[in-house]
């Protein structure tokens, strides 16, 4: 009984240090803006109103958040199994492109089937893009950090060619496909916002991933593989197969992120629509220690932060880069938080 209390206390302390670290980072952000001449009261009002003042703004935050959650999970699942997936951007692009192809060129299907088909195509597109680095890692021991990053550039170039030439929307000045069929569009949930019923797909997917992580032999074997691969192999875990699988699932999740951007937000594939969000996913996976629940929390914070920039700029003239700076501060503090809190505890004890 005592032991479980102790565990609860440790978890509580861990959570407390995590949350208080993020609070500390936000305070630092206020301090920076204060030095810059903006009163904390105004900052809070401006930032808060960017997200919470209307349902439209809140919906945009949620829309951004679901993309971040998906790309973070896309990095976290392979990380768990000890494989580095930095290729979220490329997988997102390929997934989005595959979904757009199905959305634009398949006709005559009822919406449910059309959307289902496009989602599956998008996930396959992301997964396929992940199999290449996964395969060369397992077959030729090529470092997947290098290959997944490389595949990001390759994806940008390949989709760039495809939407500039063969699949370019007729008459369009931009590198983008035509609009997807009406039957493939995910319904807008809040007028004028980016948020679509893709939210439900992401909720289902998130629950599925949690289930996979906590309750299945896959999740278990990934966990073991990531913490001691020699032990995993000794115990009969098919190590390479499980690593491969983790990459496939990671790729499919990133592909789904692209799919929802296409079917829900833009209704077409636009070149570089991810805007490098895959790297944000990698960082969040690291600071959330691959835990789905923490990923959810951190993604929300990051989405609110990047949403706030608009209000801060409009009302207080704060540069849009401020949000990136604050995100970096959070990342640095969270990663070094055990040292920071150890230092603070020591200081307090000395006094």
């Amino acid at each position: 009984m005592k032991a479980t209390n102790k565990i609860r206390r440790t978890i509580f302390q861990q959570g407390l240090s995590f949350i208080s670290t993020i609070a500390l980072a936000l305070l630092l952000g206020f301090a920076m803006l204060w030095l810059n001449g903006s009163a904390p009261k105004d900052v809070l009002a401006a930032a808060g109103s960017s997200t919470f003042a209307s349902s439209f703004r809140f919906a945009n935050m949620v829309s951004r958040m679901i993309t971040i959650v998906l790309v973070s999970l896309a990095a976290a699942i392979p990380f768990k199994a000890g494989v580095w997936n930095i290729g979220g951007d490329g997988q997102l692009a390929m997934g989005g492109f595959f979904a757009a192809l199905v959305g634009v060129y398949v006709t005559g299907l009822p919406p449910v089937m059309h959307i289902g088909l496009a989602v599956i195509a998008g996930m396959i597109g992301g997964a396929l893009w992940a199999t290449i680095p996964a395969y060369v890692r397992l077959k030729f021991k090529a470092n997947e950090i290098v290959t997944t990053i490389m595949m990001n550039y390759l994806a940008a170039l390949v989709t760039g060619y495809l939407v500039n030439y063969p699949f370019r929307a007729p008459g369009s000045a931009n590198a983008e496909t035509s609009l997807v069929q009406e039957s493939a569009v995910l319904t807008q949930m809040v007028p004028l916002s980016n948020l679509s019923t893709g939210l439900y797909i992401v909720i289902v997917m998130f629950i599925l991933i949690c289930f996979l992580d906590w309750k299945t032999s896959w999740g278990y074997e990934w966990r073991v593989l990531g913490s001691n691969d020699e032990f995993a192999r000794y115990g009969g875990v098919k190590d390479n197969r499980m690593r491969f699988l983790s990459m496939l699932i990671g790729g499919a999740l990133a592909g789904l992120a692209g799919t929802i951007l296409v079917l829900g937000s833009y209704h077409k594939f636009i070149l570089n629509m991810g805007g490098g969000i895959g790297f944000t996913g990698v960082l969040i996976a690291i600071i959330a220690a691959n835990s789905p629940i923490l990923i959810l929390i951190v993604s929300a914070i990051f989405a609110i932060l990047s949403n706030s920039t608009v209000g801060l700029e409009a009302r207080l003239g704060v540069a849009t880069e401020f949000s990136s700076i604050l995100q970096s501060v959070i990342i640095l503090l969270v990663i070094t938080r055990s040292n920071i809190w150890a230092g603070i505890t020591k200081l307090l004890k000395r006094r």
Partner: protein, 505 residues
């Protein structure tokens, strides 16, 4: 006659274990001094103390007659003591000169490393070592034996007059060993003092001026090479106390469950296991012993499928399992308590529960499709903890927070509760207390009496004698003898272990 190094009553205690017990070692200047002993006799610890990597719990060290305190490897180097580790400490991407001068590069024009000067000195050392190696290529392109010599060169470059070598021949082929020994002789003639740790009697015999024998942490004797016989040394290494006997029922031979036929394993150009044949019967404990590094580890790995079979066959329950993967062999009845419980036997950063269900989790009892039955796993884990007396406050704590003995009980509990007809148990009592050891041994006998076939691998002769029904000895990758506890003795086993005797199986 002056002593290059002299220790007085050096004692080193790690937790509950005494690694060195009041050691008085005297190394004569300009001689080659071999330090012999079985695995775990305390050789490496003693040498690490001399090199400042470990601090003695008590005792004094003198270097050339002066009392010294060696607080770090840097201080050891200042006293001109160099250590050539068993694992290489070279930067593979660097050239010899860059490796030698790393951190102490001479400068020219204040900021540039002066590799011209370095290489001149390197060339002198390589000539001394009789080793014409290229100075402009990374050391990673050299062979293992060349890198070994480069390691020695590095110590010389840094001014070492006293060289400590930790099992320098363990990675070399026989021909290359001769060459290395020649170089060591040459260095001695140049006036260097050499201390060589080894468990190979032949080497100590062919090269040393004096031989010290360590046994269970104590220095049992230092003898001049000229007045000692191999048999004497074997007796010193293995001791001559009577062997303890554990009460057990007479041996009931069942059918052969495991049959190994002419098994060989090659890797990296070396023959790790050479034409080994033996079988283990139901109701039998087959004790496999030998000095560490003579192929026992590789043999087990091959049996469980962690290493590829090069030649030969492994029959398990009548079926040839050579092509089976690890999981298939486990599911079909092989359980394995590995030699290193932290590296291989557990994942210390995961919970006790996660560690206990490994290997069970794919058995039909514990999953439905690929969903694990959480409740069932927990009650199963609780049962193991209770039955094998693992002291763990809950299933959720990290396995790494358990003591060594408890971790071992966890591994043994997990593997034994597979209820397989065959068990491989490697070094089960390594680093655990006497109470746990006794418990493990009685479990092994209980399993044997219930008809299990057990392959026990151990370097501890007492353990081998008291538990085994038959004993096999490995030397240099070969199974040089199969005998029974009744028809052999400690001395004879010692002879097999160091390769000075073999029987026709």
């Amino acid at each position: 006659m002056t002593y290059a190094i002299e220790t007085h009553q050096i004692t080193k205690v790690f937790g509950d274990t005494v690694a060195n017990d009041r050691v008085d070692l005297q190394v004569i200047e300009g001689h080659i001094h071999a330090v012999l002993g079985e695995n775990g006799a305390g050789k490496t610890t003693l040498m690490k103390i001399l090199f400042g990597e470990e601090q003695p719990t008590s005792g004094k060290i003198e270097v050339r007659g002066n009392p010294v305190k060696i607080g770090s490897p840097a201080e050891a180097l200042r006293l001109s003591i160099g250590f050539i580790h068993q694992n290489f400490t070279l930067v593979n991407e660097f050239t010899i000169g860059q490796n030698f001068s790393l951190g102490i590069e001479p400068r020219k024009n204040l900021i540039f490393a002066d590799y011209g000067t370095v290489n001149k000195k390197v060339q002198e050392i390589l000539t001394l070592l009789d080793m014409p190696l290229r100075l402009d290529v990374p050391v990673g392109s050299f062979s293992v034996e060349e890198r070994q010599i480069v390691e020695i060169g590095k110590a010389l470059y840094r001014g070492a007059q006293i060289l400590i070598l930790d099992e320098p021949t363990s990675v070399l082929t026989p021909q290359k060993i001769e060459k290395l020994l020649d170089i060591l002789r040459k260095l001695r003639n140049e006036g260097k003092t050499i201390i060589m740790i080894t468990h190979k009697l032949e080497e100590a015999f062919s090269i040393a001026d004096e031989i010290s024998v360590l046994r269970k942490g104590s220095l049992v004797a230092t003898l001049p090479r000229s007045s000692v016989t191999k048999d004497q040394l074997i007796r010193l290494m293995v001791g001559d106390e009577p062997l303890s006997v554990v009460e057990k029922a007479p041996h009931q031979f069942g059918e052969a469950l495991l049959e190994v036929k002419d098994l060989s394993v090659h890797s990296g150009g070396r023959d790790l296991v050479k034409h080994v044949s033996f079988e283990v019967h139901r109701g039998e404990i087959f004790g496999l012993t030998g000095v560490g590094g003579n192929g026992q580890g590789e043999l087990i790995e091959t049996l469980v499928g962690m290493r590829q079979t090069s030649e030969g066959d492994i029959f398990f329950d009548g079926k040839n399992v050579v092509k089976w993967d690890i999981r298939k062999r486990r599911v079909n009845g092989m359980a394995y308590v590995p030699e290193n419980r932290v590296v291989r036997g557990t994942a210390v950063s995961l919970s006790v529960l996660d560690n206990l269900i490994m290997g069970h989790h794919y058995l039909p009892d514990f999953h439905q499709g690929f969903v694990l039955k959480q409740k069932k796993m927990e009650s199963f884990a609780q049962e193991i903890i209770k039955q094998y007396e693992v002291v763990a406050s809950s299933l959720e704590i990290n396995a790494g927070s358990l003591s060594g003995g408890n971790l071992q009980k966890l591994v043994i509990g997990r593997e034994f509760s597979m209820n397989t007809p065959f068990l491989i148990v490697a070094y089960p009592s390594q680093g655990i207390d006497i109470r746990t050891t006794k418990y493990v041994q009685s479990e092994l006998i209980r399993r044997r009496d219930s008809g299990c076939a057990i392959l026990l691998v151990s370097g501890d002769l007492d353990e081998i004698f008291s538990l085994s029904d038959r004993i096999g000895v490995m030397y240099s990758g070969e199974l040089v003898a199969i005998t029974t506890p009744e028809s052999t003795n400690r001395f004879e086993l010692g002879q097999y272990m160091v390769g000075s005797r073999r029987n026709g199986k």
